[in-house]
Amino acid sequence: MARLGMVIDLKKCAGCYACVAACKVEHATPPGVFWCRVVKLESGVYPQVRRIPLPLQCMHCANPPCERVCPSGATRQRADGVVTIDYGVCIGCRACMAACPYEARYFLAELKGYYDGQGLAPCEELGYSSNGYVRGTVTKCNFCVERIDVGREPACVANCPGKARYVGDLDDPESEIARLIGNRGGFQLHPELGTDPSIYYLPA
């Protein structure tokens, strides 16, 4: 069985936040919830200074600490490695949020819309119901399973204007992502934690 993974090339990332918006429009996530986000890392002292945009999301770890602590069994790992949450089962205890070292999870304290006090926009109304959001549960990136299961790339990958994102099979040494990781020095975030993330980065 293939193990799905993603490579994000920091040399190609334009820091444009289009992945954040592509994820929003794909999943209609509520205000303040970012399955996919970008942080800017500044280093050095003027004038020798660099600022690197670092896209972050659920790492779909091979050894997911969130799954281990989930008391209800809502957080599960698919055979292809994708870590999912079943909102119908989640009890909202938030143990997974404490366990996740990548701060990839969000608690849906309420399901309000973006235009506060003005009701849900039609696209939000439809999006909240088609994504099955439930108040009082935890949510995060689902690797666009609804897209990959019909042969489409995740929204953030397909749309990335900088062409910085790749998706593929980590277990296949001939896959594009495996070759990129090998040739370009691909790395995981916090490998010392033993979570073995499925998201790899290529150096800027």
Binding site: A28, P47, P161
Partner: protein, 861 residues
């Protein structure tokens, strides 16, 4: 039961065109049971290739923003002013149009020039229609917001003269060294924003070195291999010093290119003019083989001299234009440049050498069976570099870098954005190409606004509010001045009706209070707008516009060439904008409404005639000026005229896009033409002399400065560089972020949330050491006060990524309209324009660009 089964569950993807900025990306809109649920890039349209930016992706939140204006309104409070509630009252479309038509008819009866139109550069596709409407009404007064702070008049003029195009791009596909001055290409601004991101990404992985000169570690500079911080407004000095190094220190210049594609060989006399053949009047060159002068295009001219000093017919010594340039730039020593720009002299020398060597002078490349010169060193500049007092001269200096190393309109180099189009193969239309101007020099053939910059242009006494007659190299941007004080400018009329189309000019031009005063001078103002935004505080009637997801549109050819289908795309792609949603509520698309207004005013005939001309319509598809058309019928005729009867509106509605290959003769036209472009701008002082003569006849002539009409560039200080006011120790400027377009996107909830994620967008960026010296900490609120008296408040982001003499903010934050509840919350950035001054001393009179260099002082709140 049967009835339920008959209900069709709708689930459709509709190809269309984005309009969240001027890139006009090809999109697909996903509609489910009447609700638009998603916008994606259209992979079948090379204009996006399926990848769009955060703004386009978020556009459904503009479609469904509950704060949109959904019906016509009129003011009930006669007092107009910033923050003064107009006390809007809902009215019917009928009442709104009756009022507007009555006011326009009265104004037309008086003098049609009293009607003034205003549009925005963010909506490029509306240009041909709105120009047709204004022309039919009989007014020359159609102005643009964006022509001030957001536009590139100096760049456009020089690009037109040197590259035959309104815009430029870099041929990233074949580039190895990219040098950008104050430009956001590849970082979500500039043209074909997302395609440039991808092209730069691939070039970087291939090994292209990217160097960005900018006072700030901007989104573009973040991507670069090297950020070169510079004092604002001094890019011209850097370019001149680099030219000096290239020509006089390293001798890195392309002899063959200069001799055959430029006027470098033309002999120039002590008077600065060409030395001409007495018989033919043609400029002379010196044949070093025969040691005598010949006409520049004499086929026997074996060895034209680029350097040296010669005597023709015993007259005074003359020099080839290239020698004049070489001598001119000698005084721009890197050591002096260091003092002005703050960039170390050693860095300037290194950049010059790197750039010159990267051009690979003499190398060739094979593309589509053609062997072409390969000059993989691309220079690009835009607003940041040339948005200053001496815009034109700065643009000239930077453009000469490309010319000297022969890196212009060839593979890997800076490309004019489509100065040549040979048309769709089956029809040969649309068609344009550059023309031959005087002295073998090239003139642009496709130009926004009609007349490209050339020595054919004659200045005249202004009759239009833009004062464009006094700016023959560019577009006039004087309307705010003349609107504020019509008598002063000797115009034979005063504006009666201001028709504002999608432009929040009060926040996006310059000095907010002065623009507000100017707007108040016009007795009747109608805004056609998505929102009750800040400019509507000066409107009498506001009409609810349909956003781009609710309307039909096609691109006018001038804008297609440079904005939508820019030179980085190696394919032609013409495409349709069509509704993904029916217009919601009582919103109506303005072109349809304007056709109705035109009919009621009795000017339809003129509108159709101008539309025919601007869109190059050909028989049998020329619109019959006696007939009456829907907007969609006009689109249908235009499409068939370009692409044949089978490619009508219905075809485009289904397929969305028609594409065909771009030939090397189009992309890399320079190699295929004998027409030349200047390295010595000989005719410009003569043009300046004509403006100068005119200036003396005008009562306000004292404010006009013609000194920048020069044949070669110099660096001159902005007013801010010379200001010594005590305590005003920082330069303030604005920059573009990838997820906002001017002021129109700040109430989009998703873009607002993304702006919250980004550390800088809603903050004022200040250098760490500067902040420490001032006792300002990260997150502190500060007042910024400019030398002109404007004050704004904001939260500071302390960062190493900005020049220590600067404070910077994203453009067009700091809204205040209560009808934009998200945008107008406290802490949503600051309005840079509050710091500026509507004053001619802040305007470049050669191209009417506004200076964005403003000295400020900062103190904690």
């Amino acid at each position: 039961m049967e009835a339920n089964e008959a209900v069709v569950r709708e689930d459709v993807w509709i190809p269309s065109a984005c309009s969240m900025c001027y890139s006009n990306c090809g999109i697909l809109g996903h509609r489910v049971n009447g609700t638009v649920v998603k916008i994606e890039g259209n992979p079948d349209n090379p204009v996006s290739a399926g990848r769009i930016c955060a703004k386009g992706l978020s556009s459904i939140m503009t479609l469904y923003d509950p704060n949109r204006l959904n019906f016509p309104v009129k003011r009930t409070n006669p007092e107009k002013g910033i923050g003064v509630d107009p006390k809007w009252q809902r009215i019917s479309w009928e009442e709104a149009l009756d009022t507007i038509v009555a006011r326009m008819a009265a104004a037309m009866a008086k003098d049609p020039r009293t009607i003034v139109f205003l549009r925005t550069v963010a909506d490029t596709w509306s240009s041909a229609f709105l120009t047709s409407f204004a022309s039919a009404v009989g007014t020359p007064n159609l102005w643009l917001s964006g022509a001030g702070p957001h536009c590139g008049n100096g760049a456009h003029a020089i690009y037109g003269i040197v590259h035959g195009a309104f815009h430029n791009q870099v041929d990233y596909d074949h580039c190895k060294y990219l040098l950008m001055f104050g430009c956001g290409s590849g970082a979500g601004a500039h043209y074909n924003a997302t395609l440039a991101m991808g092209a730069i990404s691939e070039a970087k992985v291939r090994g292209m070195r990217m160097v960005v000169v900018d006072p700030m570690l901007s989104p573009a500079a973040e991507r670069a291999d090297e950020w070169v911080p510079i004092r604002p407004g001094t890019d011209g000095y850097l370019a001149l010093a680099m030219l000096n190094c290239l020509i006089n220190e390293y001798r890195l210049y392309d002899v063959e290119y200069l001799a055959s594609h430029t006027n470098a060989t033309y002999l120039v006399g002590d008077d600065g003019r060409y030395v001409r053949d007495k018989g033919t009047g043609k400029p002379l060159a010196w044949d070093a083989a025969e040691k005598r002068p010949k006409a520049y295009d004499d086929p026997s001219l074996a060895k034209p001299a680029l350097l040296g000093s010669y005597r023709v017919d015993g007259a005074q010594a003359c020099r080839p234009a290239f020698q004049v340039l070489a001598d001119h730039v000698k005084s721009y020593r890197p050591e002096d440049a260091e003092k002005v720009t703050t960039i170390p002299a050693a860095t300037i020398r290194r950049l010059a050498r790197e750039f010159g060597e990267a051009a690979q002078i003499g190398s060739t490349i094979e593309i589509d069976g053609q062997t072409l010169p390969h000059r993989p060193a691309g220079v690009l500049f835009f607003k940041g570099a040339q948005g200053h007092k001496h815009s034109f001269l700065t643009a000239m200096a930077i453009a000469l870098l490309s010319q000297v190393v022969g890196a212009a309109d060839l593979p890997g180099a800076c490309l004019g954005s489509n100065p040549r189009c040979q048309g769709f193969p089956a029809t040969g239309r649309p068609f344009w190409e550059h023309k031959e101007g005087p002295d073998g020099l090239l003139m642009a053939g496709n130009w926004v606004g009609g007349h490209p910059p050339s020595s054919y242009n004659e200045p005249s006494k202004p009759q239009s509010m833009s004062l464009g007659e006094l700016v023959p190299l560019s577009h006039g941007t004087g309307t705010a001045f003349t609107m504020l004080d019509p008598e002063k400018y000797e115009l034979p009329y005063k504006p009666e009706v201001h028709f504002i189309v999608g432009s929040n000019v009060v926040m996006s031009l310059t000095e907010v209070s002065a623009i507000a005063e100017a707007l108040k001078q016009v007795p009747f103002t109608v805004c056609y707008s998505l929102y009750l935004d800040e400019v509507t505080e000066f409107a009498d009637v506001v009409l609810p516009d349909a956003c781009f997801l609710e309307r039909y549109d096609i691109c006018s050819l001038t804008h297609w060439a440079g904005y939508a289908n820019s030179a980085i795309i190696k394919e032609w792609s013409y495409y349709l904008r069509q509704p993904v949603s029916e217009p919601l509520h009582e919103r109506r698309f303005r072109n349809e409404v304007m056709l109705e207004i035109a009919e009621r005013l009795g000017v339809t005939e003129g509108l159709l005639a101008t539309f025919n001309m601007l869109n190059q319509l050909r028989a049998p598809y020329v619109l019959d000026t006696q007939r009456r058309y829907q907007w969609t019928e006009m689109i249908d005729a235009t499409l068939k005229s370009y692409f044949g009867p089978e490619h009508d509106l219905e075809w485009f509605k289904e397929h969305g896009v028609l594409r065909w290959p771009k030939k090397p003769q189009e992309s890399y036209w320079r190699h295929f033409t004998r027409l030349r472009t200047p390295i010595y701008f000989e005719w410009i002082p003569a043009l300046g002399a004509k403006v100068e003569a005119l200036r003396k006849e005008l009562s306000y002539g004292g404010e006009i400065d013609t000194r920048d009409y020069q044949a070669l560039p110099d660096w001159k200080p902005c007013p801010s560089h010379e200001d010594r006011s005590s305590g005003f120790d920082l330069f303030a400027f604005y920059y573009r972020v990838p997820f906002h377009t001017f002021s129109g996107t700040y109430n989009n909830a998703w873009l607002d949330d993304i702006s919250n994620l980004d550390p800088a967008t809603y903050a004022l960026s200040l250098n760490t050491e500067t902040a420490r010296c001032k006792g300002i900490r990260d997150g502190d609120w500060v007042w910024i006060e400019s030398i002109y008296g404007g004050r704004i408040k904001g939260r500071v982001l302390v960062t190493e990524g900005i020049h220590p003499e600067c404070i910077a903010m994203a453009n067009c934050g700091g809204h205040w309209s209560k009808y934009l509840p998200l945008a107008s919350r406290s802490g949503k950035g600051a309005c840079f324009e509050e710091l500026m001054k509507l004053d001619w001393k802040c305007v470049d009179w050669t191209v009417h660009n506004f200076d964005l260099c403003v000295k400020v002082r900062v103190e904690r709140v």
